[in-house]
């Protein structure tokens, strides 16, 4: 005798299959571009003169490198010896490192004070923080361009367009990012352990060092890493405030617009390996902090 639940269960199973199929398809499409980049890092130009290295072909004679023409590994060598690529990556890394360091200090300090501040003071600050996240980057980019040009013309302490103006501009967004992450963790932690530390005679500095900071650290590190990735990958703001400095996204952008060689793919592949390593580290850190709900929940709203 068929059980009464059978038709529904089979329908449920059918629905489950449909949704699983769709999800698998979406995941494949999500990862497809990354796979493509890695594969085409090993691509050859359409025609290689007999006896020549595939990587010695002039970019203008490369033909169509968006179809597979045969494999080579020489692009990795070419990429590492390119006069612009590696310096650009170094510049980006150095800017992102400093930006995330300063943003982490600014953001963490503000997050600590804000979390238990009176609403009257907190709300205007919150509005400011959300503004920094909501204003389109292109608007901030052009505004920063005008600002830095004018500021340098009138006050010589302001830097000329270059590495430092990129850095100063990026810290705004990064500090807000760190602030949100650290604050969510700080509020979630509760204050009982800090109260205990106070009761036991710990001063504010000792309490911060021995109680608050160790528990907050995973969120601080997560915030620092996030703001590092943001800075490193940022194109729009540096495109306007770079002066003559080349960052890695700027190099990639012009390469994409005016013809990419597989060398860009090769360098991107090498960086992918580094990024995946960083992600794994961050994943472990996030797991320990239990901050996974940070990404899932809608952002805390202005009361």
């Amino acid at each position: 005798m068929p059980s009464p639940g059978t038709p529904r269960r089979s329908r449920h199973r059918f629905g489950k299959r449909m949704f699983t199929g769709w999800a698998v398809l979406v995941y494949l499409v999500l990862y497809l571009p990354i796979v493509v980049v890695v594969i085409f890092a090993f691509n050859q130009p359409t025609t290689v003169p007999h006896g020549a290295s595939p990587c010695s072909v002039d970019p203008s004679r490369m033909g169509n490198v968006t179809v597979w023409n045969g494999g080579t590994t020489c692009w990795f060598h070419t990429a590492l010896n390119d006069p612009t690529y590696v310096p650009a990556v170094k510049t980006s890394f150095w800017i992102a490192f400093r930006a995330s360091l300063i943003a982490t200090v600014l953001g963490t300090a503000a997050a600590l004070a804000l979390a238990r501040m009176k609403q009257r003071w907190r709300v205007p600050f919150d509005v400011l923080v959300y503004l920094t996240l909501v204003v389109p980057e292109i608007v901030i980019a052009v505004a920063s361009l005008i600002f830095f040009v004018q500021a340098h013309n009138n006050l010589s302490i302001f830097p000329t367009l270059g590495e430092n103006t990129i850095l100063l501009g990026q810290i705004v967004f990064s500090a807000s990012l760190v602030m949100l992450i650290v604050r969510a963790r700080f509020v979630g932690m509760g204050s009982s352990l800090e109260e205990a530390s106070f009761d036991l005679g710990g001063g504010p500095i000792a309490t911060f060092r021995q109680v608050t900071l160790p528990r907050l650290l995973p969120a601080v590190i997560a915030g620092a890493l996030l703001s590092f990735t943001f800075s490193f990958d940022d194109y729009v703001l540096p495109a306007f405030t770079n002066g003559t400095v080349n960052t890695w996204p700027i190099v990639v952008y012009s390469a994409v617009r005016f013809g990419v060689t597989p060398a860009v793919n090769a360098l991107a592949t090498m960086m992918l390996v580094v990024t995946v390593t960083l992600i794994l580290i961050t994943g472990l850190v996030l797991r320990r902090s239990g901050a996974s709900d940070l990404t899932g929940a809608p952002p805390p709203t202005i009361p």
């Binding site: 999500l30 493509v36 389109p136 980057e137 292109i138 005008i146 810290i171 495109a239 952008y253």
Partner: protein, 297 residues
Amino acid sequence: MATETIQPPKRSPRRRSFAPRYPGWLTAPSLIYYMIFFLGPLAILVVFSVATQAGFGSVSYTFSTSQFQALNDPLYIKVFRQTMLMAAGGTALTIAIGYPVAYWMSRYLTRYKTLALLLVIVPFWTSFLIRTYALKIILDPQGYLAHFVEWTGISNQFNVLYTGKAVAIGLAYNYLPLLILPVYASLERMDWKLVEAATDLGASPFKAFRQITLPLTLPGLITGALLVFIPMCGEYVIPQLLGGGQFAFVGTVIGSNFLGAQNWPFGSAMAIAFMVLLSIFVVIYIAFATREEQFGA
């Protein structure tokens, strides 16, 4: 006075909180920083938007609304409208792709929910430009996808790159996690027993979805939709790379007034007008996000 002596002494709060407070001055560094490097640029942007161009690359500081009047031109109104429409199309595509994925995670996954969420985010930790470039390879009219589509006979001319379609695909691809996460969060908060009850009472799965799941997750869906719509409107790179520069967004026009045309006052006015327009959506977003927080948990 007698009345004063009768009044009970001011009561100290019954429960004194021993919660240590971090001093308010800790916010000072970031506050000063925002004042200089965020509000400063925005203020000077406003100044420039009412200034006038005086020769190539120099401005005279006046108070004139001529830049804003120049915006009221069919050409620029078209750019604004096109941007909104493209962003709306991109948002719709993102919802069509992302909602079922979020639904699948929440409804059918048990042990691997976190992993599934993480796998949605991971691709976005690689370089955005490189991924967009890879989309260009994939959508190339002489690429493998084009051959495949022409071979299957769906279309005999695969011309997607450098059209609105490519821009919409690029937008949907890059903003997918931003939609999936809030929708997933609202699906997780929903009580699936309600759906079970509805189907027990004879509703078809589709009807149960339409009458229960969709209304209950609508605030999350709208929040997510605005969360992708707002930045999509301000997109600068995707329309340039995948639209081939032929597909103007407000952001690209603003940018070209600074990098190419060197008409800073006009570009500033356009940026200000754009921010005012977007702020409407931001207000709606805040209203929904707050409401969802109230009803959700």
